[in-house]
C-alpha cells in the first residue's frame, strides 16, 4: 500500500514575536477627522501605560505569510478524510460561509432596534421551528455557545423545574459511556453524579436505571445513540422508569446526526436535549470552535428557558424578556448568530428529505467500515451500528502495537486519525465516524490503509512506533509540556 503522503515544501516559521521589528507598521488605523485628544490631559497619567511590552510589529505581508505558513501545518477537513468519532466531521458547505458573511447578517449590532433586525429574528425563529420539528420537542433556545454550554443550560432548567415544585433534587444518573462534559456540566449545575456501569454491554438496560432512580434524582442524562455508536433500544422503557419517579430524561444530542429524520426524541420520552450545530448541521469546527449548542425542551421545561425568547406576533418578530420562571441568561446577547445562519442555510439546502438521506448515508458508511474492518481490528460490539463504529487494538496488542501507534501511522498515509481512547469503556478504543459526505472510494482506500497498517503491525511494528515521519514535526513530548510549562513567549 503506497502512502498518499508525498513531498511538499513545508517552510519553517518562527513565532510572530521573533519576526517583529520595532517601528514597523502593518495596517494602521484610519486618518483622523477630529481634533486629537491628548490622553495624558484627558485621562490623566495614572490611567495610562507606556508601551505594550513585546507586542509584535510586522509588515502586512509578513503577517499574511506567517499565518499562511502556519495554516499549511494544519490538516483540515478540506485537506482529507477526518474520521474523528463523535465529532461528526462532515463537509462544511462553502455557501454557508458566504451566507454568514452577507453584510445584512454580519453587520448587525445586538442592541439595534428590533424593527431593524427582522430578518435576523425571522431566521432564528425559523431555525427554532426546524429544530423543534427535528427533535419533536416543543420549544427551543439558541443561546448556548457549544454542546457543553447547552448541557449546563438544560441541567439548570431541570434544577429550576424541581425547585419550583418545592422539591429540589440533588442527583443525576450518567452512564459510564458518556462524554466527559456530561458529569462536568452536572457538577456545575449542582447535581451529584450517580454513575451507571454498562460494563461493556453496550446498551443501557431498564434494570440498571431502576436500581438507581429514586425521588431525589432529577433524572437520567443519556447520549443516544450512545458513544459506542449504538441506539439505546430501551430508551422508551427507561424513560418510563425515570418519569414514574417524577424525573426528567436529558438526552445528549451530540449524535443526533444518526437519527435525524428517523426518530424524534420527543416521541421516545426525551424531555430535554442539546444539539451541536457544529456536528449534525455542518457548521465548521474552527480548530476548536465556535460552535453552537441549542437546547430543545418539552412543555414542562418551557417556562425555564433562558431569556430572551423570540416571539412572533402579527407577522412581527420581537425579543421577549418577560419570562418570570426563566433560569436567566447563559451568555450575553442571543447566541452564536453567525453559526445559526450557517445551520439554517444547511437545513434549507437539504430540505426535510435531504436531512433524512444524510442520516441514512451516515449509517451506511459507518456500517460499511465496521463490516470491512471487523476481522482486522477487534470490534467492540458486533451488531449493526449507527453513525460510528468502535474498534480496539486488542488484535494488535500482541505485536506490541497500541491504538496510538495505529493512529500516528494513519497520519503518514494522509488521514486524520479517528478518535482514540474514547469511549473509556472500550480499552484502547478506535472510534471511527466517516459521516455521509464521504464517497465509497474514500472509504475503500481508508479501509485498505487500515488493513495495511494491521499487516505492518505484524511484520514491521517499528514503523508504527516511529510514525508519523512525514509530518512537519514528529511525536511531541506532552509530558514535558506539562512538567516544564511554557505557556507563552517571553523575550
Amino acid at each position: 500500500m503506497e502512502s498518499n503522503g508525498t513531498k511538499g515544501l513545508v517552510l519553517d516559521e518562527p513565532l510572530i514575536f521573533e519576526k517583529s521589528s520595532p517601528g514597523r507598521v502593518g495596517i494602521g488605523p484610519a486618518h483622523s477627522d477630529v481634533p486629537e485628544s491628548d490622553p495624558k490631559k484627558t485621562l490623566g497619567q495614572k490611567f495610562l501605560r507606556d508601551d505594550i511590552e513585546g507586542f509584535p510589529d510586522l509588515s502586512e505581508m509578513d503577517a499574511v505569510r506567517h499565518y499562511t505558513r502556519l495554516s499549511q501545518w494544519n490538516f483540515g477537513l478540506d485537506s482529507g478524510f477526518y474520521p474523528l468519532g463523535s465529532c461528526t466531521m462532515k463537509y462544511n458547505p462553502k455557501i454557508n460561509e458566504a451566507a454568514s458573511r452577507l453584510p445584512g447578517f454580519a453587520q448587525l449590532h445586538p442592541y439595534q432596534p428590533e424593527d431593524l433586525s427582522q430578518g435576523a429574528l425571522e431566521l432564528m425563529h425559523s431555525l427554532e421551528a426546524y429544530l423543534s420539528e427535528i427533535t419533536g420537542l416543543e420549544a427551543v433556545t439558541l443561546q448556548p455557545s457549544a454542546g457543553a454550554h447547552g448541557e449546563l443550560c438544560g441541567l439548570l432548567m431541570m434544577a429550576a423545574y424541581f425547585k419550583a415544585k418545592g422539591k429540589p433534587r440533588t442527583k443525576i444518573i450518567i452512564p459510564d459511556t458518556a462524554h466527559g462534559t456530561n458529569p462536568a456540566s452536572s457538577h456545575l449545575a449542582g447535581f451529584k453524579v450517580v454513575p451507571v456501569k454498562t460494563e461493556g454491554k453496550g446498551a443501557l438496560t431498564v434494570e440498571m436505571v431502576k436500581a438507581v432512580m429514586d425521588e431525589d434524582t432529577a433524572g437520567l442524562m443519556l447520549t443516544n445513540p450512545n458513544t459506542i455508536g449504538l441506539f439505546e433500544k430501551n430508551i422508551k422503557e427507561i424513560a418510563e422508569v425515570v418519569h414514574s419517579k417524577g424525573g426528567l430524561m436529558y438526552c445528549d444530542g451530540a449524535n443526533l446526526n444518526a437519527i435525524m429524520g428517523l426518530v424524534k426524541l420527543g416521541d421516545i420520552g426525551v424531555d430535554v436535549v442539546q444539539l451541536n450545530l457544529h456536528k449534525t448541521f455542518s457548521t465548521p469546527h474552527g480548530g476548536g470552535g465556535p460552535g453552537s449548542g441549542p437546547v430543545c425542551v418539552g412543555k414542562a421545561l418551557e417556562p425555564y428557558l433562558p431569556c430572551p425568547r423570540i416571539k412572533k406576533e402579527n407577522g412581527k418578530f420581537s425579543l421577549d424578556f418577560n419570562r418570570p420562571k426563566t433560569i436567566g441568561r447563559m451568555k450575553s446577547f442571543y447566541g452564536n448568530f453567525s453559526i445559526m445562519v450557517r445551520a439554517y442555510s444547511y437545513i434549507r439546502r437539504m430540505g426535510g428529505v435531504g436531512l433524512k438521506r444524510a442520516t441514512e448515508a451516515a449509517i451506511l458508511n459507518a456500517n460499511y467500515i465496521k463490516e470491512r474492518l471487523k476481522g482486522t481490528y477487534h470490534l467492540a460490539f458486533d451488531e449493526p451500528c449507527m453513525h460510528e463504529a468502535v474498534f480496539s487494538d486488542k488484535f494488535q496488542e500482541s505485536c506490541g502495537v497500541s491504538t496510538m501507534d495505529i493512529a500516528k501511522r494513519l497520519i503518514d498515509y494522509g488521514y486524520h486519525p479517528p478518535t482514540v481512547y474514547f469511549p473509556l469503556v472500550v480499552h484502547g478504543a478506535i472510534m471511527i465516524e466517516p459521516t455521509e459526505t464521504e464517497t465509497i472510494d474514500t472509504l475503500d482506500r481508508f479501509i485498505d490503509v487500515m488493513k495495511t497498517i494491521a499487516e505492518e503491525a505484524k511484520t514491521n511494528p517499528q514503523i508504527l512506533k516511529e510514525a508519523p515521519t512525514k509530518t512537519k514535526i514528529r511525536r511531541v513530548d506532552e509530558t514535558r509540556a506539562a512538567r516544564e510549562p511554557i505557556l507563552r513567549w517571553k523575550k
Binding site: V25, P93, K264, S338, R357, R488
Partner: protein, 445 residues
C-alpha cells in the same frame, strides 16, 4: 442530494458488504415503535443559487450599522476589520479542522493559539492566558467559579457598573453551586465604583470582587486603588474588560494588581454578527494556572528536539477529570481567537496605540459637540470611547426621532438601571465620522 455523494451503485455495494437487502433493513435496528412515520415537516431543499437568493432576501430585511450611523457599544463594538483577517480565517486548513488533539497535524492551530495566549498576556500584563472562552459574560462567570476554588470562599461581589448581561450570566452560572452574590453600587456623581462602597461590601467570606474597566457607563475605574482595598481582605480582584481596544492606552491590569483579567476580545477582528460568536478571554497569575478553566497550549519539543506545541494541563479538563474538572468547557472559540490575533498583529504595537488614541479622540469630540447642543455627560469620571449622557425627554422618544434620520443613537439605560431614566449610553469608534457625530449633536439640540 447535496453533499451526499452516493450513487445507486454505491448503495448497492455497501448493502451487499454489510449483508442487508435494503437501507430500511439496516435501519431496522431501531425499534419500530420509536420510528418516525412520516417525513419531516421542513421545506424542500433549495439549489445553491436559490438558497443564496433566499439568504440575501432574508438578510435585506435587516438594516446594518453601515446603513445607519450607529453609536451603540455596550459590550459589542463596531470596529474596522482589516481584509487580512477574513483572508486568513477563511483558509480551510484553519476553519475546517477540529480541536488540535493530534499535535502532528495541528501545529498551525497550536502555534497560532500559543501566540494568541501571549498577545493576551501582553495586553493584560498578566502571566498566563487560556486559549479562549465563549464570551465576556461567561468569562466573568468562570472567573467567579475559579476565585471560589482558589480562596475556598463563597462570596462573589459584583460592581453594579458591570455589564448587566454579565451580571445575569454570573447569577445563572452560580445557581448550581451556591449563589452568594452581592453588588456594589456606583457613585451617582463619578459613574465609577467608590472605594468606600467596595470596602464595606467585602467580608472575610468574599472570594472575589468583579469590576468592569472601563465600566458599563464608560467610566474608568481606579483599579490600582481598588486592588489595594480588595487585597486587604485577602479576596481576589477580577477585572472585566468589554472594550479591548482600550488596552492600547490604559495601564495594564497586571500592573494595577489584578488577579484574574477577563473579558471580551470581539473588538479585535470579530464582526458584530448580531451578538455572536464573540471571544471570551481569561488571563491570570502563574500561581493560579491549575485552577484556570479552558484549553491551554504549551510549548514542548518533538522526538527530534524541534520546537513543537500541544494541548497541556489536560488534567484540569472535563475529558480527563469529568465531574472534578475546573469547567465543563470543551469546544471554545478558537477561530475567533485566530481572527483577533490576525487583527492585533496587523495593527502592531504602534497601530494599536494609534487606534486606541483615535477612539478616545472621537469620543471626546462627540462629548464636546453634544455639550454644545446642551446634552451633558452624566458622570465626571474620565472615559475611553463610550460615555453616558442625560437627554431631554424620554430616551425612547429621542432614539425614535434619531432613527428617522438614520441614526441609532445609543442605548437607553433605563431598562437596566431604572434610576437612570433619561440616560443614554453612547459610543464612538473609528467607524463614526465627524459628519455623523455632528449630525447626532445637531439632532439632539
Amino acid at each position: 442530494m447535496p453533499y451526499i455523494p452516493h450513487t445507486a451503485k454505491d448503495i448497492e455495494k455497501i448493502l451487499k458488504a454489510v449483508g442487508a437487502g435494503s437501507v430500511e433493513e439496516l435501519i431496522s435496528q431501531l425499534p419500530a415503535a420509536s420510528r418516525l412515520k412520516g417525513p419531516l415537516a421542513i421545506p424542500d431543499g433549495l439549489s445553491e443559487q436559490e438558497l443564496l437568493g433566499h439568504m440575501k432576501a432574508l438578510s435585506s430585511k435587516n438594516s446594518t450599522v453601515e446603513e445607519y450611523s450607529s453609536f451603540l457599544g455596550a459590550g459589542a463594538y463596531n470596529h474596522y476589520i482589516p481584509s487580512v483577517v477574513d483572508a486568513i480565517i477563511s483558509r480551510s486548513e484553519f476553519y475546517t479542522s477540529y480541536t488540535p488533539y493530534q499535535p502532528e497535524l495541528s501545529q498551525g492551530t497550536l502555534q497560532a493559539i500559543f501566540e494568541y495566549q501571549t498577545l493576551v498576556c501582553q495586553l493584560t500584563g498578566m502571566d498566563v492566558a487560556n486559549a479562549s472562552l465563549y464570551d465576556g459574560a461567561t468569562a466573568v462567570a468562570e472567573a467567579c467559579l475559579m476565585a471560589k476554588r482558589i480562596t475556598n470562599r463563597e462570596g462573589i461581589v459584583l460592581a453594579n457598573a458591570l455589564h448587566p448581561e454579565y451580571r445575569e450570566t454570573v447569577a445563572t452560572y452560580l445557581t448550581g453551586t451556591g449563589d452568594h452574590l452581592s453588588t456594589i453600587d456606583y457613585s451617582a456623581t463619578t459613574g465609577a465604583t467608590s472605594l468606600d462602597a467596595i470596602e464595606s461590601a467585602i467580608s472575610d467570606k468574599t472570594a472575589c470582587v468583579v469590576i468592569q474597566h472601563p465600566n458599563f457607563f464608560g467610566s474608568l475605574e481606579d483599579i490600582e486603588a481598588i486592588a489595594g482595598v480588595v487585597h486587604k481582605k485577602k479576596a481576589l480582584l477580577v477585572v472585566a474588560v468589554t472594550e479591548a481596544v482600550s488596552f492600547g492606552l490604559l495601564k495594564s491590569l497586571g500592573d494595577c494588581g489584578c488577579d484574574i483579567a477577563v473579558g471580551e476580545n470581539q473588538s479585535f477582528g470579530n464582526s458584530l454578527s448580531y451578538g455572536g460568536p464573540y471571544l471570551g478571554f481569561m488571563a491570570t497569575k502563574t500561581e493560579f494556572i491549575r485552577q484556570m478553566p479552558g484549553r491551554l497550549i504549551g510549548q514542548t519539543v518533538d522526538k527530534e528536539g524541534r520546537r513543537a506545541f500541544c494541548l497541556t494541563f489536560a488534567t484540569r479538563e472535563q475529558h480527563i477529570r469529568r465531574e472534578k474538572a475546573t469547567s465543563n468547557i470543551c469546544t471554545n472559540h478558537g477561530l475567533c481567537a485566530l481572527a483577533a490575533s490576525v487583527h492585533m498583529v496587523s495593527l502592531g504595537s504602534g497601530g494599536l496605540r494609534k487606534l486606541a488614541a483615535l477612539n478616545l479622540s472621537k469620543a471626546e469630540y462627540l462629548k464636546k459637540k453634544l455639550k454644545e447642543s446642551g446634552v451633558e455627560a452624566a458622570f465626571t469620571s474620565p472615559t475611553f470611547n463610550e460615555f453616558t449622557v442625560k437627554v431631554k425627554g424620554s430616551p425612547d422618544g429621542v432614539l425614535k426621532k434619531l432613527l428617522e434620520k438614520k441614526i441609532i443613537g445609543g442605548l437607553n439605560l433605563e431598562k437596566y438601571y431604572p434610576e437612570l431614566g433619561n440616560h443614554l449610553l453612547i459610543c464612538a469608534t473609528e467607524m463614526n465620522s465627524k459628519e455623523e457625530m455632528d449630525a447626532l449633536a445637531a439632532a439632539l439640540k
